[in-house]
Amino acid sequence: MSVTRSDVEHAARLCRLEFSPDELETLRGELGRILEYVEKLRELDVTEVEPTLYGLAGSTPLREDVPGEDTLAREDALAGAPDEENGHFKVPGVL
């Protein structure tokens, strides 16, 4: 499986990561080798096989849609924020 330069650039955009041209080239080779290895999975006949999505099958517990007790206080939730204003997370302008 050969990975093209534009494949890597596309994935980088989706990941919000930036790489130098050298790094992109290295990654292209590494991802290519890893993907070549996982091609091994093609040997398997999986036509009748259901995928396993979760650790162990169990039912999803549900509860009323109300705030739980013992949740974080606003100031605690904001304590690690790089920037905040008026009790909110603050980010550079979106529009």
Binding site: V3, D7, V8, H10, A11, A12, L14, C15, R16, L17, E18, F19, L27, E30, L31, R33, I34, L35, Y37, V38, K40, L41, R42, E43, L44, V46, V49, E50, P51, T52, L53, Y54, G55, L56, G58, T60, P61, L72, D76, A77, A79, G80, A81, P82, D83, F89, V91, P92, G93, V94
Partner: protein
């Protein structure tokens, strides 16, 4: 032998009988850390002030906090630095979280505190748990106490090195693809990965949520069981937590008593190309156990050879999604200097995440992206089903599966660092258990010709952790491995003199 080499059980009873004061116990460990850790680098953060204060307070009380008793009261426990500790920084070995202080304790951590444990420090790891050598940390590599030129394994390498060097009585680690068992094997310790859902993941910083599980690293099976009893059990804060997950430390003695233990060994899967030392230890242990009514039979795990491929696709796909949260908005470091939101995300993530993490996030994103989803991610999940089925079928016939934990003893620092695929392949024996959600324990089993520890793992049925622990105890008694002081540690203690 000093205080720091005692088992957790022995320490607990020494404190309870007032043969050692809590302050002396803490001081012995802190002094060991001061002598050894500048070289070993097992800790990212040492929780010195809090431990000293708590130890002083406990020393004045009779017994400790109300309802708290041996064996865990006042015991110094290390916690891997991807498990949240309130008020104590939790870095995940990443630059992006290097100053992150969680506002809450992980459930496993609060349960340890409730039992009177002292959190002696936060241990080094491969960034976010991604690695098998503890070399991928923003804080630099951890060294193996058995040989300072070798890795302690990973990703819970800091936890394993801390326990092996007497810098903690036991430690919490996390096991997504072998990250508790493999470092325990490479450092001569017991490493326990519970059934998925037995220990709450609340406060465990997510890497691959369908595989992640908190586990225990300790010197003996009994110590492991004591810590596991404290941290296991249902938790309303984790929707994947199991109702039947509580593990008890007390042995019922049922296992092995009623008859022979049937143990399957997948010789065909692991024998080819296996390191001769690991092969010799496996054969020697099997023949010892056979004499004690363990009935071995060869088993086949026909899809085991696909487990690395399936694992890295599933784990990295989940990681790429989980790590999207590091965007410089709610916590962690922001790389500023721009008034554009997109640019802020890119700068923050590019500066904050390390090489291996980026590689995995890229691979996971690629495998999930349009046009590749079915070929990679979906196919990997189907392979996961086949791998899981192999174990289920085998474990209907046998009680346990036995195989090596790692294909080699500890490898050299730098040996696999620049070859990601070679590093991934070192997880070949451990990842299947995570894909199947099963419990497994790595046990000290022998030494290589050059004196490095070698571990074998026992794998049990889902939610039969109790049985697995009891079998592990029998294994430990039968194998009766001669205890040795790690050579690297010996050197550090001799040159540091004064070390406890």
């Amino acid at each position: 032998m000093g205080i720091c080499e005692l088992s957790l059980r022995e320490m607990g009873s020494a404190v309870a009988r007032r043969k050692v004061s809590p302050a002396e116990l803490v001081e012995a460990h802190l002094s060991r850390i001061r002598v050894c850790d500048p070289t070993l680098r097992a800790y990212v953060t040492v929780n010195e002030a809090e431990c000293e204060r708590l130890a002083r307070d406990r020393g004045r009380q009779s017994g400790g906090p109300p309802g708290v008793a041996a064996p865990l009261n006042c015991i110094p426990i290390a916690v891997k630095d991807n498990i949240c500790t309130k008020g104590l920084r939790t870095t995940c070995g990443s630059r992006i979280l290097r100053n992150y202080v969680p506002p809450y304790d992980a459930t496993a951590v609060s349960r340890l505190r409730d039992r009177g444990c002292l959190l002696i420090g936060k241990t080094n790891l491969d960034e976010f748990g991604m690695g098998s050598s503890t070399e991928n940390s923003f804080f630099g590599p951890t060294r193996n106490p058995w040989d300072l030129e070798r890795v302690p394994g990973g990703s819970s390498g800091g936890s394993a090195a801390a326990v092996a060097a007497g810098m903690a009585a036991a430690a919490l680690g996390t096991d997504t693809g072998g990250s508790v068992r493999q470092p325990a094997a490479l450092c001569g310790l017991v490493g326990y990965k519970p059934t998925y859902g037995v220990v709450s993941r609340r406060g465990l910083v997510a890497f691959a949520s369908s595989l992640d599980q908190i586990g225990v690293i300790a010197r003996t099976v009994e110590d492991t069981a004591a810590v596991l009893e404290a941290v296991s059990g249902w938790d309303a804060w984790d929707s994947t937590s199991a109702r039947r997950g509580q593990v008890r430390a007390r042995q019922t003695g049922e296992v092995g008593k009623s008859g022979v233990l049937r143990v399957g060994v997948p010789w065909g899967f692991f024998s080819e190309g296996l390191d001769p030392d690991v092969s010799d230890v496996t054969r020697a242990v099997v023949s010892k156990l056979e004499k004690e009514r363990w009935a071995f039979e060869e088993i086949d795990l026909p899809h085991a050879e696909y487990s690395i491929a399936a694992y890295y696709l599933v784990a990295d796909a989940e990681a790429s999604s989980n790590l999207a949260r590091y965007d410089g908005v709610r916590y962690g470091e922001r790389e500023g200097g721009t008034d554009d939101l997109w640019e802020m995300y890119v700068r923050t993530r590019t500066a904050g995440l390390g090489t291996e993490v980026k590689r995995r996030v890229m691979l996971g994103t690629y495998a999930l992206s349009a046009g590749y989803y079915e070929a990679y991610y979906l196919r990997a999940q189907k392979a996961r089903t086949l791998i899981k089925r192999d174990y289920e079928e085998v474990l209907r016939r046998v009680d346990l599966v036995l195989m090596p934990t790692s294909p080699t003893a500890a490898f050299r620092l730098g040996e696999k660092l620049h070859d990601p695929l070679a590093m991934y392949l070192s997880d070949v024996f451990t990842v299947g258990v995570n894909l199947a959600g099963l419990p497994a324990v790595s046990l000290p089993s022998g030494y290589s010709r050059s004196g490095l520890p070698i571990g074998l793992q026992l794998i049990g049925r889902a939610f039969e952790d109790q049985t697995l622990l009891e079998a592990a105890r029998l294994f430990e008694q039968v194998v009766a491995l001669e205890a040795r002081t790690p050579a690297g540690l010996k050197g550090l203690l001799e040159s540091g003199r004064g070390g406890a």
